[in-house]
């Protein structure tokens, strides 16, 4: 039996649309991994930069999720729970490698920022913009990635990161300020 050939006959369309609750009840870790691997990989790829590290971290996220599934609260978004595991793992990894940039302004106080008088973030500068996002402190970068890449709302980001909605708002605001400064 060739597993590759057999795998191509999988009823993927059935799995892709199955609600998480159904997949969780069925104990189908593989289907959940197929459904969410892309978003989780996208998030950790942004947070860790290195594709190989991101692949490892994305896998580790699913393995941890399976190991700690008892802690998952029904009613909570499974996707956001995965994001929380992924973000924590990425932070631990960077900290262990001493690659986690220290953010001098870790408090949630309001930063000094003037109103934008010109559009500093331009679409044509995508590469520069992504490079600037990569250089953001971890706490700001994870908020930016969850909001703009994964399209989570402020309350969802708050739930995922375990912070208040106001803290999310200020982190995104500070991230924007940092990006403007970086790109100006």
């Amino acid at each position: 039996m060739n597993p590759e050939a057999a795998r191509s006959t999988l009823p993927m369309e059935l799995l892709a649309d199955a609600p998480d609750e159904v997949l969780l009840r069925a104990g189908d870790a593989a289907a959940l991994a197929r459904k969410y691997y892309g978003p989780v990989y996208g998030l950790v790829r942004r947070l860790l930069r290195d594709p190989a590290d991101a692949r490892d971290a994305a896998q580790e996220t699913f393995l941890r999720a399976v190991a700690h599934l008892k802690e998952f609260q029904p009613g909570r978004s499974f996707r956001n729970w995965l994001f929380a595991i992924a973000a924590n793992h990425a932070r631990d990894l960077l900290r262990r490698r001493r690659q986690l940039p220290l953010d001098p302004a870790t408090g949630e106080s309001l930063p000094e920022l003037t109103l934008p008088d010109a559009r500093l973030l331009r679409e044509e500068d995508r590469e520069r913009l992504l490079a600037a996002v990569d250089r953001l402190p971890f706490d700001l970068k994870v908020a930016v990635a969850l909001h703009f890449q994964q399209e989570l709302s402020y309350p969802e980001i708050g739930e995922t990161l375990g912070i208040s909605v106001n803290a999310v708002r200020i982190r995104l605001y500070r991230a924007l300020g940092a990006l403007r400064k970086e790109l100006s």
């Binding site: 039996m1 060739n2 597993p3 999988l10 009823p11 799995l15 199955a18 159904v22 997949l23 009840r25 069925a26 104990g27 189908d28 870790a29 593989a30 289907a31 991994a33 197929r34 691997y37 892309g38 978003p39 990989y41 996208g42 790829r45 942004r46 190989a52 590290d53 692949r55 490892d56 896998q59 580790e60 699913f62 393995l63 399976v66 190991a67 599934l69 008892k70 998952f72 490698r97 920022l113 003037t114 109103l115 934008p116 008088d117 559009r119 500093l120 973030l121 331009r122 679409e123 995508r126 913009l129 996002v133 930016v144 990635a145 703009f148 890449q149 399209e151 402020y154 708002r169 990006l179």
Partner: protein, 607 residues
């Protein structure tokens, strides 16, 4: 007109909180539009998940961990998702059993095809030799139920993979150990796994609960108290009234509700990091030497080669010499069985049978009494464990059980016991056979070690990174590889191992370093062998060395108080347990002890 602060404009532009002022003020609206367009630019730059598909190894690893929830799965076996789950699980298992020749590491990069370890066993099982078939049959269950499908495909009985192996020589040794080692337990309201954990810790053996006959081992609460009786008796006393028993098979102590365990527990496979060691053939021939010392020496060298000797050992089964066949068979059986780690330290003997009366509920008081009554020496992990920690009601002479209740661990050395927090990554290097782990993880580690030993720089780098991400599970295979590979590859394995230990903040407790690697003059050795008695509690290491008149230089600040409970302890032992768990080390510069970071000591002390 007073404009709102920038955050309000930002909130408006990003849809968080609309502002009436921003809507009506042309200047603010322009600013908001700019912020909005920036938001769009960010979204466009970052938007979208990744098209990256999950690597195959993820499914294999997930298949190994059955998805469990807090409550029982809903009974909907015919639902589409349920059917799909079944199909996926089977396919994941299929991938595990039929890897298609190439093994992929977690990055998805194809690596060198590895021979399936089951191939040889199946070939041997189909062969004409009864002796070989018996050995293969003994080894097959070590792959567990995961091998059943493969056996079926080969036209063999899948039950071979689930059969309970016949009791071997190692099992007899384990039974002897259970009948001779004594234990004291005082547990209230504990679950069966918790009680067995104490047995595991005290014996170094592996205990597995037969889930078929005891499906919910955590459900029942057990209060159990025995004092200084042999483990075998303690197990019977605990299990008998509950209609359960224990049986030793394949190097494992099974606790079962029936006469024999129905399953062997999760599938495990050894990590084969060495292949066809060149010296193995000559050593195997020496198994039949006329000189008994030479025979014993060859057997122990072959044991150290691990799977590097496997091919030579299988070949030796065809020898005309019954001595060679017998020893080779014994070594092969040993290779195919996970070996228990049950080394006992001299200091443990001192603790057996000691009576601790009324030492109080604090760690310091408990160890003080224990040290006085047994002569054993205890040192608390500096800065992490304090003497005032509650240990509850200490169990008589059951040090490990008492410490475990306070979430502490005892790390034994020849003449001292370090008391550290549970979970501190303190490892031991002593080799007692190949590492056993989940089959997919075993093959992944094999593949990574092989990549690191290859001559291809790209593969080396990939493997290096993979090993770093594997973390502490790669330590023992790397250690094994660094003993037998050619010098350049062995050096890479040592470097990867060192990097992992640094990355994980782990301490290899029985690995010599610093002063232990120095060629010491007699007076230097005497300095480290000096017995320190009457050490005042709470001094820093520097002050403690001052107190005992030991010249020293502290190149790093170590201000934490030292708590040692000892009548007499060698200066070298004290320095070792006080420095190394914290990433420090020491060496001798003339007659002066220098304490510095482990990395700087490594640089200062040539191998």
């Amino acid at each position: 007109m007073r404009h709102p602060d920038p955050l309000e404009v930002h909130d408006h532009a990003w849809g968080f909180r609309p502002s009436a002022h921003v809507s009506s003020c042309a200047e603010c609206r322009r600013a908001a539009e700019t912020a909005e367009s920036e938001r769009d630019a960010l979204r466009e730059a970052l938007a979208g998940g990744s098209a990256e598909a999950p690597p195959e190894t993820l499914f294999v690893r997930l298949a190994a961990r059955k998805l469990r929830r807090g409550r029982a799965p809903a009974a909907s076996p015919l639902s589409l998702a349920g059917m799909a789950a079944g199909i996926l699980s089977l396919l994941a298992l299929g991938f595990l059993l039929f890897p298609g020749g190439a093994v992929r590491d977690p990055r998805g990069a194809a690596t060198q095809p590895l021979p399936d370890p089951l191939d040889r066993l199946i070939a041997e099982f189909k062969g004409p030799s009864a002796e070989r078939r018996a050995l293969a049959a003994a080894a097959l269950p070590s792959f567990g139920a995961a091998a059943a499908e493969r056996l079926r495909k080969e036209g063999l009985d899948p039950a071979l993979a689930e059969a309970v192996p016949a009791s071997g020589l190692e099992d007899a040794a384990i039974v002897d150990l259970l009948k001779s080692r004594r234990i004291t337990i005082d547990l209230q309201n504990a679950s069966l796994p918790e009680v067995l954990e104490v047995f595991e810790r005290e014996s170094g053996l592996r205990f597995v609960i037969d889930r078929k006959s005891i499906p919910e081992p955590g459900a029942e609460r057990i209060s159990f108290k025995v004092s200084d009786i042999v483990m075998d008796g303690a197990l019977r006393l605990m299990l008998g009234p509950r209609w359960r028993s224990h049986v030793v098979r394949g190097g494992i102590v099974f606790v079962t509700g029936g006469d024999v365990p129905a399953v062997l527990g999760p599938a495990r496979a050894p990590v084969r990091v060495l292949r066809d060691a060149p010296e193995a053939k000559a050593l195997a021939a020496a198994l039949g030497s006329a000189d008994p010392k030479e025979r014993e020496g060859a057997e122990s060298s072959l044991r150290l080669l691990g799977f590097g000797a496997e091919a030579a050992l299988w070949d030796s089964l065809d020898s005309d010499d019954p001595e060679v066949r017998s020893r080779a068979g014994k070594l092969l059986r040993r290779l195919c069985t996970p070996q228990p780690v049950a080394r006992s330290f001299p200091v443990e003997e001192k603790l057996r049978g000691a009576t601790v009366a009324g030492p109080g509920a604090r760690l310091g008081a408990y160890l003080e009494v224990l040290a006085r009554e047994t002569g054993a020496s205890f040192v608390l992990d500096p800065g992490r464990v304090g003497p005032s920690l509650e240990v509850g009601s200490p169990s008589r002479d059951a040090l490990r059980a008492t410490l475990r209740r306070a979430k502490l661990q005892a790390v034994f050395f020849d003449d001292v016991i370090l008391v550290a927090r549970e979970g501190e990554p303190i490892l031991r290097r002593e080799w007692n056979g190949p590492v056993w782990t989940a089959p997919d993880e075993a093959r992944r580690l094999e593949s990574l070690v092989e990549g690191l030993s290859s001559t291809d720089a790209g593969r080396q780098e990939e493997a290096f990174r993979g090993l770093l991400s594997a973390g502490l599970s790669a330590i023992e295979p790397l250690d094994e590889a660094s003993r037998a590979l050619e010098p350049a590859a062995a050096a890479r394995c040592r470097a990867a191992r060192r990097r992992i230990l640094d990355q994980e903040g782990a301490w290899m407790a029985d690995e010599p370093s610093g002063a232990e690697l120095q060629p010491l003059a007699p007076e230097q050795r005497a300095l480290l062998d000096r017995e320190l008695s009457d050490s005042p509690a709470g001094l820093t290491l520097g002050k403690l060395l001052d107190h005992h008149g030991i010249p020293h230089r502290m190149a790093v600040k170590l201000d934490v108080p030292v708590h040692a409970f000892t009548r007499n302890l060698k200066a070298g032992s004290l320095l070792k347990v006080l420095t190394r768990p914290s990433g420090l080390d020491f060496y001798l510069d003339g007659g002066t002890v220098v304490v510095d970071t482990a990395a700087r000591v490594r640089a200062a002390v040539p191998k």
